[in-house]
Amino acid sequence: MKFGIFYELSVPRPFEDNERLVYERSLEQVELADQLGFDQVWAVEHHFLEEYSHCSAPELFLTACAMKTERMRVGHGIVTCVPQFNHPIRIAERAAVLDVLSGGRLEMGTGRSATWTELGGFQANPDDTKKSWDEFVHVLPKMWTEERLSYEGQFFSMPSRAVLPKPVQKPHPPMWVAVSSPGTEDDAADRGLGCLGVNFTTFAEQERKVKAYRRRIQHCDPVGEFVNDQLNTINFLFCHDDSEVGVSTGRRMMGHFQYMAGQLDMAKEVYPTRAYPTAGLLAGARKRASSPGDLKEPPEGIAVGNPDQIVRELKKWETTGVDRVQFLLNAAETIPQEQVLDSLRLFASEVMPHFTDDSAAERSRAEAARPDDEASATDPSAAAVGAAAGGGGA
């Protein structure tokens, strides 16, 4: 299982003092993470989300990340595929430039926004975002791989042009979609896209989703030149030798993050539409807010606490077949920078060595590739998952 870091770039008030600070500290974390062996850095695209996320130009932040690192892959998590936010030609161009500048390290995440704050701000119709996302993800690989392209679609059209530059990675960078609404994991599987889980779901829910995704993607019609069948999940990280410090600090960060998220006007809550059947990540956040659990133990599946506790929780994820885990390291500077850096160092030295192979993910793929009756009759991972899940959590 691979580990990465994930940025919302949340900024406490007063913004004018803290925005630059947050960007500078985040880049320092990225540089250290690269040295420590973290595999990826991801950054969101959000607009107008006061405090929660000031990451409106992720391609610039990720370019800075690429310049400060040598090995880490840089991930758009995600680019909003809604025409009022981004013209698809500009998406393809910017992504290709980032792939060139990073030496072929781009991971291309796609999505459609989940807040009225953003959709209303760009005067986008919430009913249309799934449709425009679908159109964009089908045409982006063509812009990268075809010398010239002409296109006529519902949300944009273009006469024959060469979209330039082309990405370094051939045939094109791996493509992903953010999953926060039920059913989007099926959209990902059907299109051969990697699954970027951003809804902080429970371990049991994730286990079900992994199995369903693995089975479904066997029969996909890929939008690109190849299938990206990886599963990537988002988590929080605060690692400390003292369990009590680790759990309490991590919980404080989580609570602050979820509190900020709760202030946003989610599309589902403001604008009734079948395109947004749930409040996205907020549904989980509000549920957690109502269920504090045992404050001395890490919440189920969350990487906060001492190294042993974090290994235990991450082993559960590994057993489900998740390929990658991305960590949020801070929320509106709740945790001092030195503690964030120490947490990264401790994680790298004490936790990472427990996750050196990808055999669990490969087993998960093999399970999915077997016929249904055979898989259900002999499913060793299911028992292991059950035992692990029973061993901890709130």
Binding site: G120, D265, E269
Partner: protein, 273 residues
């Protein structure tokens, strides 16, 4: 930390409704016709209407509602409400800014039972056509609120989010408008004392039908209807539904001087209490 409201409680409390207690008899309201029109509103005046323990939503928006209740224990009535959508902690709620009804009996029941800041006006109307669902409030012969849903299209009732109300009230027996605790011995039922409170009113809905459409606001005379400071700037959406509605006793109260996450109390509704 998100922004907090800046409402001057000392100025607001003297006119806040006085409730008899916190355990009113449930009100069954079958066949209610509900129109709710949402508009984003100007930030600064909205913040000034928000109590200090609550957060504004990002961006702030208000709902203009007109509800027709054809059958109720106090007779048929129509109720209009202007609400500002806020956050109590992380939970979205509709802070009632003002309300108007065409029934004195309904006004009395709603004010004393649940703390609706409601006045009796000349006329509140809700009309439903196939191309438009419209609501108006008339005071002194002048239409002071005129809202509508244009081009209705059916949606599922489960798609609607009508949000629970928050009402700034005083509990009967409390003379002090300053938010200070009442004297010992004047504590009301459920252990809640005589302080000013924000009462959460959370109706139950069983939907019969629901529609969504374009939000339209042709007239909003805030000074006349009691919603000065609500300054609509951008349409969001309009929804309408028919529902069997039940107005039960409040389950939560909030100390308006504290952040809602610290100042919220669940009222004990167990049979033995």
């Amino acid at each position: 930390m998100p922004l907090f409201g800046t409402l001057d409680l000392d100025a607001a409390l003297p006119t806040a409704p006085v409730v008899d207690g916190l355990d009113p008899e449930p009100l069954a309201l079958p066949g209610a016709g509900i129109l709710q029109v949402s508009f984003e509103v100007a930030e600064a005046p909205a913040l000034a209407l928000t109590p200090p323990g609550l957060h504004p939503s990002i961006p702030p928006y208000a709902t203009f509602s007109v509800c027709r209740f054809p059958d109720s224990p106090v007779g048929p009535f129509t109720l209009a409400m202007v609400r500002l959508i806020v956050r109590a902690g992380i939970r979205p709620r509709g802070l009632l800014i003002t309300a108007a009804t065409d029934s004195a009996d309904a006004a009395d029941a709603l004010r004393r039972g649940w703390g609706y800041a409601v006045t009796v006006v000349d006329d509140v109307s809700l009309s439903r056509r196939h191309n438009r669902i419209a609501g108006t409030v008339t005071i002194g012969g002048e239409v002071v609120l005129d809202v509508a849903l244009d081009d209705p299209e059916p949606v599922a009732g489960s798609d609607l989010e009508l949000f629970d109300n928050l009402h700034l009230v005083r509990v009967a027996g409390d003379d002090g408008p300053d938010g200070a605790a009442g004297p010992e011995g004047e504590r009301g039922e459920n252990g809640v004392d005589g302080r000013a409170l924000i009462v959460q009113v959370d109706p139950g809905y069983e939907y019969r039908d629901a529609d969504r459409g374009a939000a339209r606001l042709d007239r909003h005379h805030g000074e006349a209807i009691g919603s000065a400071g609500i300054d609509p700037v951008y349409p969001v959406v309009a929804v309408a539904c028919t529902a069997d509605m039940t107005l039960g006793p409040p389950r939560f109260v909030i100390d308006p001087t504290k952040p809602a996450v610290q100042g919220t109390t669940r009222l004990d509704r167990s049979p033995s209490s």
